[in-house]
Symmetry: C2
Subunit: 331 residues, 2 copies
Amino acid sequence: MVEHVKNERSKGTWLTYRPDIKILDCTIRDGGLINNHHFTDDFVRAVYEADVAAGMDYMEIGYRGSKKIYPPGEHGPWKHCDEEDVRRIVGDNPTPLKLCVMADAERTDYREDILPKQESVFDAVRVATYIHQIPTALDMVHDAHEKGYEVILQLMAVSVIQEAELEEALPILVDTPVSAIYLVDSFGALYSEQVRDLIVTYVKAIEGTGKEIGIHAHNAQQLAYANTIEALIMGASRLDATLNGMGRGPGNCPMELLVGFLKNPKFHIRPVLQCIQDYVLPLKSEMEWGPKIPYMITGQLNLHPRTAIEMRKSDRPDDYVTFYDKMMEEE
Amino acid sequence: MVEHVKNERSKGTWLTYRPDIKILDCTIRDGGLINNHHFTDDFVRAVYEADVAAGMDYMEIGYRGSKKIYPPGEHGPWKHCDEEDVRRIVGDNPTPLKLCVMADAERTDYREDILPKQESVFDAVRVATYIHQIPTALDMVHDAHEKGYEVILQLMAVSVIQEAELEEALPILVDTPVSAIYLVDSFGALYSEQVRDLIVTYVKAIEGTGKEIGIHAHNAQQLAYANTIEALIMGASRLDATLNGMGRGPGNCPMELLVGFLKNPKFHIRPVLQCIQDYVLPLKSEMEWGPKIPYMITGQLNLHPRTAIEMRKSDRPDDYVTFYDKMMEEE
């Protein structure tokens, strides 16, 4: 159990709000992992317009994935986010919404594919890295920063990082030009007490630097929203969410729950609900996301959801016991 | 924010467990609110056998509802829990699983219908009361206690009880022969910080009495499980859950999540998963439960889910914006 941290970030009561809170909508980026980023322009435009109307701070519109690793065609346009594809949706983005693209360490040709900022409609690059990829990630951070972007860092799968490694990694990440570092619960394995402890560690690491801490949660154990508000209370100010929780496997923190919780008048729930009912819900017949028992099992075992995702595509998607037995044998 | 309470109830780390934890499965009782308690004998027997195999402490098999208010036929057998109906399933219940029946204040003919314990297969009576019904509830508690039962108290809809009223009510409830008092979030409106504060208040009220505190959560905001483990950490030891979260509207804390979290070797997840896949899931085609946006809206507004339940039965169950606008106008 941890003591609650009281710092300038964690102020805010039931009636006040924290102006430092920033929401990033990663519906297209994370949801695209379900359908290889084959969203229609209409869908992406509807999400963009909803984010603008709802007062979101950032929209992550997809990946800058390597075309050698992810051939176009097999993968839809939001796996690469070519400037002309993005501009077809947002024009020059004459709105306060910042556009963000994710670049995965070792799965992006960042030197060539990330253009100088003045040639791009993007505002920010999020560098996603597993702990063993940090040297590559650091090079990506500097490259994107030098090209003029805000750079955000996602340290993935924190539930399998040893405490000593994390203590070593954080100062290295803080000592870069990133604006924010995210706690990423890739497997949806963390309980609220663990989130609270970890956020304390992250907040301590950035103290005095002006950088911010974020949270990206997965809903394997129906804790994505709960853990997001715990992180918020403990000092995180960058919050990831998706419309209706759309995202790979169990999905993410549902935007509608988060906006309903925040008292910040800059966010509006009505455009979120409208977009969900008009655009997101109809996709439920062709894409699956959200908490399901197989994801719960991988979450409880602190494992990547990939085996559960495969199982849900098999001819026995509800044979939980056989799946449970198999996962326990592999433990 | 509250200080964490450290008392003998809240011990337990990631590797140890708390032997004081008791789970009550209210699948049939709360789930019956969806189908007027018209479950088949086969279904009720499957849940009973799963609870025995999973090591549950209590199974709440239904209500002792007044037959004048709830005519048999219109309501299935688990609305009244006549002894012969229950014995058809459990015989004399030669297991460690305790059987519990719920009696709602003002909706039960408790003097006549609750038999002396030696004539009954039930072990415990749960008295459910709104705060304005406490005088009736106290009479029910004494009646059941004198007849020989363990008596448990559910103080309903705590999210709309004023703090001063709660401070007045708790000592009155503690000063009765109840074994446990439950925090009941009827509307699924509470956030984890509120649960933590309230559990501290409840735990303080029972200090030195040997009584226990429980939690019954609803999943309107996908917080039923999260709030249940928060309550547990703060000192609650009686936990309500249902198979796959089955229960009225957004449903309850899912048993499979809770058992996966607890390290207590007396609980087993496999029989829970087996019963869900064989018996609970097939009911999904005829009964709806679980988090949905209309329940989120009533939860966020701290309202009873009844309007959302009606809306889900209408011909526009996914017109969230119209429902949201209507609820905001009624605020």
